[in-house]
Symmetry: C2
Subunit: 166 residues, 2 copies
Amino acid sequence: MHNKKEIKMPVGTKALILSKLYYGVLSKSLERLDLERYYSVLYFLNENNGCNQQCICNNLAIDKTAMVKVIDHLIKMDLVDRVINPDDRREHFITLTKKGLKQTEEVVRSFMAIDAEIFSTINKEDLETFMSVLDKLSFNLKALPSNDLFFNYKKTARKPRKPIQK
Amino acid sequence: MHNKKEIKMPVGTKALILSKLYYGVLSKSLERLDLERYYSVLYFLNENNGCNQQCICNNLAIDKTAMVKVIDHLIKMDLVDRVINPDDRREHFITLTKKGLKQTEEVVRSFMAIDAEIFSTINKEDLETFMSVLDKLSFNLKALPSNDLFFNYKKTARKPRKPIQK
DNA sequence: TTACAATAGTTTACAAATGTAACTATTAAA
DNA sequence: TTTAATAGTTACATTTGTAAACTATTGTAA
């Protein structure tokens, strides 16, 4: 209808294009904020304030070394704090600052407004089917062999276990 | 079921995560090729061999300045040629080489195998609903104001039309 | 016909994202 | 109590994103 020719595209490619369109609209709708990216991290913290960095990585499929820079940036913008967990000093809790809480509110509002807008032409039943399939696809993908870019816990990064001699 | 807690996520974020998982699996399944990325460009060329660069940009939501480097790389790998259109010498046609055709075959096979695999647990009706909703979401997003990152033809990059004085 | 605008693509420069490896510190396990 | 695993950091190379200015070519309206 709106395209000369509908091009059959793999679902991974379609999903990538959708996300690019989505974040283009999102960043436009949030351009009044001084933060210009990492919105999904704030969105996640809204419901998981005080979690550690690895938790954010796992849920948003972001590499942990990238996450260090993300959090550094959010700290520089005074949106979050990094606090060592006294019960397990390896972990750093990420907590929203007062300013972070305020901006996160706007971020969440924008995310929800866009979802509401683009789903407005879709009935409830189809929406539920769509969401259910989307989750199933991710679930199925996690079962397949992958160059796991971010699920660091899967890696055998260190040298393989040396058998004890003696 | 498989997650402690299902976290409600915006659809743009879910789509991004899905695409990361997907391309992780894809690059694993294609690691025998010497090409290690830009698979979606080859996939697109499979059905649109000989199109110009802008056409690829529009369909894959890739910026045209990035596309220059992508094509440069594919040429260096001897997978495509860049040919000036004699009828409109601004346009450069991108055509698959013999080697490109061969590797594209494998790329297409891998894409289709992954789609088949991850949709195998989903019935035909739900699949069709899913695809239809996915297309509608992209369509709806295109109607919203955006920081258009790649749809260069939308931009008013040049200085605005100067009214003729005289 | 001739300015001017629009289109397709390129180049440059810099910022940010990604991928990889090696690293510290801390906790868990054999 | 050594060894491994986990959480996070640092460093570096490569790739990608972004913006502006640029060439070359074609379309168009006075």
